[in-house]
Symmetry: C2
Subunit: 221 residues, 2 copies
């Protein structure tokens, strides 16, 4: 437990909160489920705030997708493994036998519960700072990728480098009045599901669809 | 705009943030969509924190449902109407003609954007305090309902008062080892969709299902 506090960079006043955060519901009523609920909300806020400030040229849909990528189960389980949370988890005998300490869902929940434990012990600023430390490079990577000026160019280059076919863009919808039109475009690569983009011009909608495709391909990798 | 700042109880240093929060995307690129993304996350955090502390006996699923009820579009549009946001919204001519200033989705988005504007202008503590003011009684009502000891009894009394049939409870699943069993129970009233509850005993699962039914019926009302 002492090493965990070093790894997360936060020394607890009340370590019983940290113990609670590591206690799975299979061990009884005093478990980490409520902490997980709270930690999920703190994580969502801090990631939203970081993306809002770092990625000034992303629209709401792009910000939402970037956030979803950062707070998804796999990412949180990855963080739990970096912290070696698995070895500190308190599980009931059934979960222990079936390898619960290595399961993504249980690890991800514990990561969120630890965030809430830091919040309850040290306040919102400590919790937010820890979220930034835990996410680390993951938080700045999508930002720098989005900042690059032209997603269509980057997608084309990436596909060419893989020897794949060029992407196809299709306008699937145009709606709104003459001067407030919204274009919806689908981007197809055949490598993963088609992505969509919207924008006030065809070009902007294509760029949005290309950006979504780049994120999808990254998740695939 | 001055009256709005009085109503929300926060005087802006930079009122251009508030103007931005009230600008719909139909008016151009400088709109409130990114603020809405950020405000949604702040709202979600503060509501989670309030419910966590106020409703000590609710499990994660119940907390999630209570939060969903508080941050849903209809609730946020209701708040926007209390603040008279509609009359201050900046909409493109098409949206104005079609009555966009009265539409729930546009009003709810503006409420979230205003929360983010307060955050960017005054910091997280100001934004959280305003969320509590805006939600007001709505925030404490679910808490006091959940605190009441016995949801099954309350549901029965409520249905009898309405002259409706008594609820039926059915165990639909039991899983887990002998000493870590989880029961899943469905509650049917015929008045709305069936609800589910889980718990370590049949009785607790029934109480959880009854509590979910009470929330569903409240949403219906």
């Amino acid at each position: 437990m002492r090493r965990l506090q070093q790894r997360i960079g936060y020394p607890f006043r009340d370590t019983s909160l940290l113990e609670r955060a590591l206690t799975h519901r299979s061990l009884g009523a005093r478990n980490n489920e409520r902490l997980e609920f709270l930690g999920d909300a703190i994580l969502g806020f801090e990631v939203a705030d970081q993306l809002y400030h770092q990625v000034g040229d992303a629209d709401e849909g792009q910000l939402s997708r970037m956030r979803a990528h950062l707070v998804k189960r796999e990412t949180l389980a990855e963080i739990a493994r970096e912290l070696d949370l698995g070895s500190l988890l308190r599980l009931g005998p059934g979960e222990l036998r079936s390898g619960g300490q290595a399961r993504d869902s249980i690890l991800a929940d514990a990561t969120e519960a630890v965030i809430a434990a830091v919040y309850l012990d040290g306040g919102i600023d400590e919790a937010r700072a820890m979220v930034r430390r835990l996410l680390g490079r993951r938080l700045t990577r999508p930002a720098s990728e989005i900042r690059a000026k032209d997603p269509k160019t980057r997608l084309q280059e990436q596909l060419q480098a893989q020897g794949a076919a060029l992407p196809e863009y299709t306008v699937v919808d145009i709606h709104g009045d003459q001067h407030e039109q919204t274009f919806r475009v689908v981007c197809s690569t055949g490598l993963t599901e088609d992505t969509e983009g919207e924008g006030p011009t065809r070009r902007k909608a294509e760029q949005a669809a290309a950006r979504a495709m780049l994120l999808s391909l990254e998740e695939l990798a």
